[in-house]
Each structure stands twice: as C-alpha cells, then as structure tokens.
C-alpha cells in the first residue's frame, strides 16, 4: 500500500458543493475531510500543498484511444494512462479500436491486465460488432462478465439500422451502454474536413453535418423503439445538440459527450492544411462551437470526453486527405475546458457525470467524504502554462494546441490513494 498522504490547505469541490477542507488519505481510502483534519494524519504521511487549489473527484474520460495492442508506436496503455494522470484523470475508458479490436474476452483481458499496472484506472470498452465490421454482434455478454460497461464501434458508426436495433435490444438485458460514433459512411465518404465554406475554398472533400445528424436521428428513434441506454460520442453540430435536447425532453435514456477541441476550434483551423487539425468528426463552424458550449451549460450535453487519438508523426504528417483523423487530448482537456467554463460545471462534465455514464461511480467521481475511494485531482485554477508538444507524456505529438497558454491546470493526482502526479510531474 502506498504512503498515507494529506492534501492541505485547499477547498473541496464535488457534486455536493464547495467547502474549505483538508483531505487525509490512507490505504486507498479517504480517511478524513475537514477544515483541520491534517493533524489527524499519520506522522509519515506525504503532505501535498493544496493552497489556492480545489480538491475534487478525479476526472473520468469516456473516450481515449490508448492504441495498445497494435499501435504501440503511437501510445501504450502506460503512456496514455500517464498522460491521463497528468491531465487530472483518475480513470479512462479505453476505446476498442485497437489491432486486434476488443471484440472478444482475450483482447479485453489483455488490455485490463495492462491497465491494472497503469497509474490510473483503465476501463475497457468493447466493440459492438465482430472486428468492428458492422456485420455480426460481438460477444457482449462475455465481455460484460469481465466488467465491460460500454460498447462501441467508435471510429465508425454501426451503419446497418437493423443490426444496431438488435444490439440495443441485446444490450438492454445486460445493463450496459451502447455508444455510437454517429456518421453515415456514405454521406461522409471521402470527407477530410467539415463540408462548408472552408472545405469549398480549400478544395478538400468535406463531410456534411448531415452525415452526423442523420445517424443521431436514426439512433434516437431506435432508443425509443428499444428502450435501451444509448450514449452519443463526440457530438459536433448544432443540429445534433437540438436532436438530443428533444430526445431528453421526451424522456429517452440518452446521454451525450463533446470533445474539448470541438468546443474551441473551428474548420478555419484547417486553412493551412496541417493534418494535426484533421479529426473525426471534423472541426465545425463557429455556430456549432457556440451551440455545443450552450449545450453543456443547459445540460443537453452530459460530458466532455477527450477522444485522445495519438498518431505517430510518420503516420500523421501526410497530405491532408490521406492523414488519419485524431488529436491528443488527455493532458490539455481540463485547461481547455477551464478556458470557457466555470470549475463547477467543468468538473460535473469531466468527473461525476462521465463516471455515472461509464458505470464507474461512486469509486470514481463520487463525493469526497470519509470512506470514499481516494481518486482525486487537485486543480490550481490560477496556474498558467504553455503547451510544449515535446514535453507531453504521450508517445505522440499531435496536439492541436502547441504554444497555447492556458490558465488553470491539474497540479496533483491521487489514484487509488497513490500520488501519481505531484506538482504537475508524473511520479511513475
């Protein structure tokens, strides 16, 4: 068991509110929370300064591509989890589009075993269909028995409506959540960026907003038909937000996430043909950015999820239309969110709500109270830092924010009671 520790001088902020308190952690559990509990800590405890900081439940990422097995040159479970820890995360959901994909117990077991040695909790998402091929259902029951709670063919949507309907019907009984990458493959075919004024001027083939919205609309109809739980991955358009708003108003069991990059970048970023800005779904218009932000504020969108998608330089530095989509997110997400969101809402969207969706609550995202699992982050809202791609813990360098200066950063991360990040430095 790791050394007991004390977070001293900060304010605790969780779903229950905000109050001045020290936090004592031992044996992976919060032992005491209160204004003067620091002196109750064992003498050998590690004391971490939290003055001016907020002590909160650790962040939970619903959407990270850790690339292992298969693409270890881009990322591994270990390097991805270290990036996550630096970003304030104490849990990440590893996406199943590895090589081979997580569509059977053997691969899930491998990733879970790698995750067990990682600095933060690694939950595994399974594929909906075998090989993510969109033709036959993957053994969801077998995977659920290993603890898999989210299933997705992310990277692509399940194109066949009848198959998606069967998947939802089947998943309902297992109590798991299906997560859809909403993109009609035919409508989006060849699209390298958002179809609009910029793609037209740049001469790049575009993917229209309608490619996303038609599948969101179809899947809302299927959620109504089946009564199953459905999560929408990385929504990116004004129209999608409106569809989800209506579905929620109707009482359907749907949740939705948005990425940090879709909240601050637009398709204008593609003007220089830098493939770093190629991502799926593509960066959209300013109007979409504004509606997505409003969607967080009004609760239509539940979570901010990174879609952390590392690519090795040789794989990414290609002609724009040939480059693979995706950008890094884990180490910058919190700072990006704090650039336009208050701390309370940012934490709701990045900690306790995603923990619920991922089925990881309350050991993740739960209130900071005596007896709780010690998965915590300590955020310094006043810390200013500049993103240097060379200093990221990820194996890849494809951050869309090189040279950006942010105010607000994760300072310490406590995962299962262990200080895995201290003063923005990874401890292992």
């Amino acid at each position: 068991m790791s050394r007991p520790l004390v977070l001293r001088g900060g304010e605790v902020l969780d779903a229950a509110g905000r109050r001045r308190a020290d936090v004592v952690v031992a044996d992976g559990v919060v032992r005491a929370v209160g204004p003067d509990v620091a002196r109750e800590a064992p003498g050998r405890a590690l004391v971490l300064d939290a003055g001016g900081c907020v002590v909160a439940p650790g962040l939970v990422d619903l959407h990270a591509h850790l690339r292992e097995p298969g693409r270890e040159e881009a990322e591994t479970v270990e390097t991805g989890a270290r990036s996550a820890a630096l970003g304030g995360y104490t849990a990440v959901v590893a996406m199943p589009n590895t090589e081979p994909p997580v569509d059977c117990a053997a691969v899930a077991t491998e990733v879970l075993a790698l995750g067990a040695r990682a600095p933060v909790e690694v939950a595994v998402a399974g594929a909906i269909t075998v090989g993510r091929g969109g033709e036959r259902l993957a053994p969801m029951g077998e995977l659920a028995a290993l603890g898999v709670r989210i299933f997705t063919d992310d990277g692509a949507g399940v194109q066949d409506g009848a198959l998606m309907r069967r998947a939802l019907d089947y998943a309902r009984g297992l109590g798991v959540t299906l997560a859809q990458h909403c993109e009609d493959a035919a409508l989006a075919a060849g699209g390298a960026m958002h179809e609009g004024a910029w793609s037209s001027r740049l001469g790049l083939p575009g993917a229209p907003a309608a490619a996303e919205e038609t599948m969101v609309a179809r899947d809302i109809a299927l959620a109504r038909l089946t009564g199953a739980r459905l999560h929408f991955l990385h929504l990116s358009t004004e129209g999608s937000v409106e569809l989800v708003r209506r579905a929620k108003a109707e009482g359907l069991c749907v949740t939705a996430e948005v990425t940090p990059h879709h909240l601050v970048l637009t398709d204008a970023a593609c003007a220089g043909y830098d493939p770093v800005f190629k991502v799926s779904p593509p960066l959209r218009r300013q109007e979409d950015v504004e509606r997505l932000r409003a969607g967080l504020a009004d609760g239509v969108l539940d979570a901010i999820a990174t879609d952390h998608a590392p690519h090795a330089p040789e794989a990414k530095d290609l002609p724009f239309d040939e480059a693979p989509p995706g950008m890094l997110g884990l180490e910058t997400a919190l700072s990006v969110a704090l650039s336009f969101l208050g701390l309370e809402l940012a934490l709701a969207c990045m900690s306790w709500r995603p923990a619920q969706i991922a089925g990881l609550a309350p050991r993740q995202g739960g209130p900071v109270v005596e007896g709780a699992c010690a998965n915590l982050c300590v955020i310094d809202p006043a810390a200013t830092w500049t993103v240097d791609p060379a200093r990221l813990a990820s194996r890849s360098r494809n951050t869309p924010f090189p040279g950006w200066t942010f105010t607000g950063r994760n300072r310490h991360t406590i995962a299962a009671g262990e200080a895995v990040v201290v003063d923005a430095e990874a401890q292992r």
Binding site: E195, S200, R201, L202, G203, L204, Y273, P319, F320
Partner: protein, 304 residues
C-alpha cells in the same frame, strides 16, 4: 514573390506583374534560338505525383528556355512507390541543391505543406487536388488579355465541373482580381457545397448566359475523379452544359472560349466548336510557356 501556392498570394499587382513579365518572355518563343541565359546555374525540379502532359512539359520548356537545369521527378519511377513519404521525397530532392520545386499532387494543399518542409527552395503549385492551379488561371488571363486587350469589366462564364476543378478556383480569384465578373454555370451537384465568400454569380441556364459572355471557360468533366456519378449521363450533361454547335451560335463574335485541356471533344465541347476562331486552346498552350517562364523568373528573385 516567395512561393506561388495560390492566386491569392499575388493580388492584382502581382498578377499584373506576372502578365507583364510574361509579355516580355513571349517574344523569346518566336526567336530562331528560343533560349535566354536568365536562370543559368539555377536548378528546378518538377515533382509530379499525378499524371500530367501539358503542365509538366510546359514548366520544363519554360525552365529550359531560361537556361535553368531541370530535374524531372515522376511518381511512377520513384521511391514513393517503395513507401517513401512526400515529405522525405521533398527533403531528398531539395538536398540535391534545387532552387525551385514545381509540385503537382492529387491531394489539395500539398504545395502548402511542401512550402513548410523546404529550407530555402521556392515552391510553385503545379495543381493540387481540387484546390488550385494558379499558372493555368494566369495563362488564361494572359490569353484573354491578348485577344481582348483588357480584362476589367469582362463577363466570364466558368462552365462545368466546378466542384472538382482546381482551375475554376484559381480562375475565380484571378478574374475577380483583374476586375472581371464571374458566373459559374453548373448543376448543383457539380458546385462546391458553399460559395460563401466567392465573388461569383451562379446559374444552371447556359443558353441564357452565353449571349452576354465575353469569356467562356469550359472545364473538363473529371470522370477520373468520379465526376461521372454527379450527373445522370454524359449525354444529359452535354445537352445541358456542353458547348454544342447550336450553342456556339449564341456566342458573341468577339467572345473568347478557353479550355485548360485535355479537352474531351463531344462532352464539354463539340469538335467543330473547338476549332472555331473564338476557341483559343492552342494559343493558351503557347502562352503557358511564357507565363511559366515569368513565374519561375519571379519566384527565383528576378525583377524587371
């Protein structure tokens, strides 16, 4: 001029300068010995990652008339086939001591990317995906000006597959900069998704637009880019957007008909029409050499 990646790099003054310099170089092509020593000692590589006949030959002819050394790279015979990236290819070729690279690539934006990868080479866009083909638009303007005297105030029709056309994008920028008004004539399925910010009007009625046109720029229907699927049949396309013999009678006698080539006779232009005096296709090809001489001269630091 640093690089020539887009017509928008030039602005009106830059375009005028290219045309003025091209005027001077056009004379070289009429001499018994068609060569000047202007770029002696300079090395120019043509990097064509896509098939091309006239553009490549035109650039290489232009470079040779200026006495530059020309290195010709084509993807079929290169290590790209062995898996070398565009970036490594560019860096390797620059390391051989090139002064300018003429780049053609099927992906939009590659010349822009190349301009970031080179250390000191100048980059000239020889056509990139659907994006731009600046020297084609410049030679079109040169030819139209030669025939009509001035471009200011002319009414230009750009007809056909605008969606997949790098020529159209460069033409719109160039004609607009020189004071012409541009109308795109195409079915909705062959227009870009958004024309926001484009200084153009749009119609799909060629018959109504033709009589008022001073310049008709025909674009090739890019069947190799799948454009065939954007119209029901070639026959219907020709019926609605082809410059047929019947439509040619609607043309003003002073109108100029341009085509970037290669022409597909019988689809966008009837064979008889291609041979009418208003059609300046071969003159475009001749002028292309002079315009590319001007561009190479200017990017390599020349001043007149």
């Amino acid at each position: 001029m640093t690089h020539l990646l887009s017509v928008s790099d030039l602005g009106r003054d830059g375009i005028e300068e290219v045309l003025r310099v091209a005027e001077a170089f056009a004379e070289v092509g009429t001499r018994p010995i068609r060569k000047v020593p202007t770029l002696r000692g300079k090395a120019i590589a043509t990097l064509f990652f896509e098939d091309s006949t006239r553009t490549r030959l035109s650039f290489e002819t232009a470079a040779k008339r200026l006495s530059a050394d020309v290195l010709s790279f084509s993807v079929g015979a290169s290590s790209v086939k062995k898996g070398e990236s565009v970036r490594d290819t560019v860096e390797t070729i620059e390391a051989m001591g090139m002064d300018a690279l003429v780049v053609r690539h099927p992906s939009a934006g590659v010349p822009v990317q190349v301009s970031r990868w080179v250390r000191r080479c100048k980059v000239v866009n020889g056509g990139d995906g659907w994006h731009e083909h600046p020297t084609q638009a410049l030679l079109d303007c040169f030819t139209v000006r030669q025939v009509r005297g001035d471009i200011e105030g002319l009414r230009v029709l750009v007809v056909g597959d605008v969606l997949h056309s790098r020529v159209a994008r460069s033409q719109v920028l160039a004609y607009d900069a020189l004071g012409a008004s541009v109308t795109l004539v195409a079915p909705g399925s062959l227009l870009p998704a958004s024309l926001e910010g484009w200084p153009v009007e749009v119609t799909d009625d060629l018959d109504a637009a033709l009589p008022k046109a001073d310049v008709v720029s025909l674009l090739r229907l890019q069947a190799e880019r799948g454009a065939g699927a954007f119209v029901p049949t070639l026959r219907e396309y020709t019926a609605r957007f082809g410059l047929t013999a019947r439509r040619a009678q609607l043309l003003d006698p002073d109108a100029v008909v341009t085509h970037p080539g290669p022409m597909v006779r019988g689809v966008e232009i009837a064979s008889d029409v291609a041979d009418l005096p208003q059609a300046v296709v071969t003159r475009q090809v001749t002028n292309g050499v002079a315009v590319r001489m001007a561009v190479l001269f200017l990017v390599l630091g020349g001043a007149m």
